[in-house]
Amino acid sequence: MASVLEVVDLHIRYGTGAGEARAVDGVSFSIEAGEYLGLVGESGCGKSTIAKAVLGILPPNGRVAAGEIRFQGRDIVRLPPAEFRQMRWRDIALVPQSAMNGFDPVYTVEQQIEEAIVAHVSWPAAERRKRIEELFAMVGLERQRLSDYPHQFSGGMRQRAMIAMAMVLDPTLVVADEPTTGLDVIVQDQILQRIKAIQEQLQKTMLLITHDMAVVAENCDKIAVMYAGRVVEYGGKEVFRTPHHPYTLGLCNAFPDLDDRERELISIPGAPPSLVDPPRGCRFAPRCPFATPHCSDVDPPLVEVAPGHSAACHYLDRAAEFRRMSEDPEIWRRAGEAA
């Protein structure tokens, strides 16, 4: 059986004033039925662009330059627009980054959920209403609030309503693009737990996009770490247990660990490279504390380090050594000074 979502060597470019930015540059991953994949990386690494491409809502200046996005075996990039439009929300739904502005302010929440149903299936009004109430109950919202306007909801309620809207047609795949942006920490946690519960209960296939390593570690079955338009490490939970790529090491160090409060948080010095004119060789080399001249010359391929776990680094054999060294903040600081 085909994977629910299979992204194969995807290249996405944005036309900008300074030239074409390669926002996504040869990314591949796949999600099997019922799996929860987390796509992690810094802002601007291309993770949201992938979400947009999967939903077919790339902005006008963005285009899929090469590669395939296969949904249940069919390449949706080259699907006729009308057919793709029918698939959206019915097969692939979105929990967006911007719940704050994700609803049209001049329509009620119910109207907006309803129009998603009407666009795809011909249920009678009573059935639509029943389904919407059912979902509101599932996400813990009172049904009286259905006739409210979005501005009458708090941020957390709005995001819950978004989740309800995403689930309304029982889609095969749900893409959650930074679903907790702009919410306070407690609400963030509630939302993520809600998503996780729904995922487990309904056996949903999910793609979670986030910059928060801890969130992925807590929720996902599979992880793809992205850096500057590429996947640098990909695999199951072992990606956190035994990270192999120096960037993944850096990300793990940059997030607090409740079990180990003594540990110092280390940030990765520097900033991601320009995507219009990316550096030759490994894109992380300029910020990498372990980089050698070879790194900035030759681009390392994604290599399997264990079954189902791969990373893109020239020195995978020294991963254990890097892991130990990366706990020393001094190493990173020196890399920052060199860069």
Binding site: G56, P96, N101, E115
Partner: protein, 324 residues
Amino acid sequence: MQGFRRYVIRRLMLLVFVIWCILTIMFGLFQLLPGDPTSIFIDSNFSPDMIERQKDLWGLNDPIWLQYLRYIRNMALFDFGQSFFQIAPVSEIMADKVKNTALMIVPALVISIVLGTIIGAIAGWRRGSKFEQSTVATSLFLHSAPSFFVGILVLMVFSYQLRWLPPGGMVSLGGPDGFWEMIVARDYWVHLILPGLVLVSREITGPILLLRSSMLEVKGSDFLDILRAKGLPERQIVTHATRNALLPLVTYIAVMTGLLFQGQVLLEIIFAWPGIGRELVQALNDLDYPVAQAALYVMALVTLALNFIADLLYGVIDPRVTYE
């Protein structure tokens, strides 16, 4: 709903206050005008005794505060007195002129708003297209073309050269007179074509440019991405965007209609349309105080009323507006 009622009452009170201010200013202005009604109205051969009697009759010898109070009361009751030159109560003249002006403006307004909204929305949605570029260029051109010039031009072409359309007036001589008779008369519509066209050509540019720019603003909203992701047809997405872009138009329409009601002096003169603007100019030339006063007052009232309606309407079309 209680908040709404309180808001309406507060707004009404403000309205009354503004009307009072306008009346008071007008009273002062007309006091400053040279001469007094008697010098215009009364034959110079009248004896001083007769003039005094006439002044007594009109209350012009009363103390100023009494005159002021009487003036306020009469204005509030729409009792504008008698015209100096026309044998009719001013309120009747006003009602007639307002009707005539409305007969010219309202059809043009409706066309401008409906068509302008649609064109502007499409132009904004298709940013960078040939359609948008030509729409903006045309609108700016029409917007800056002076209406007296365009008016004379179309008169020259369609009336004097081609002889397709009448050169002016609302109806032909002996044509229908009442409001409803005119609405159904072909004659009225034929007379409306030229002035209506000139009006639309200028007034349509406002909604076009406004909606285009507010559409551009809405186009950046995140919710449009969600609508697209929901797999809605393009038409429905444009409807959502337009509904949001319409909000600023409501205020604009109120202001525009108010301005139209007072600003059509030139068109009314060029097309010999017996409207309120022409009447005001005529009255000022003749020093026909009661008519001039009433015309100014009616124009102010229309503008205020439209703004008041716009304020109320805003709360209806934008659910985010509350009256708490």
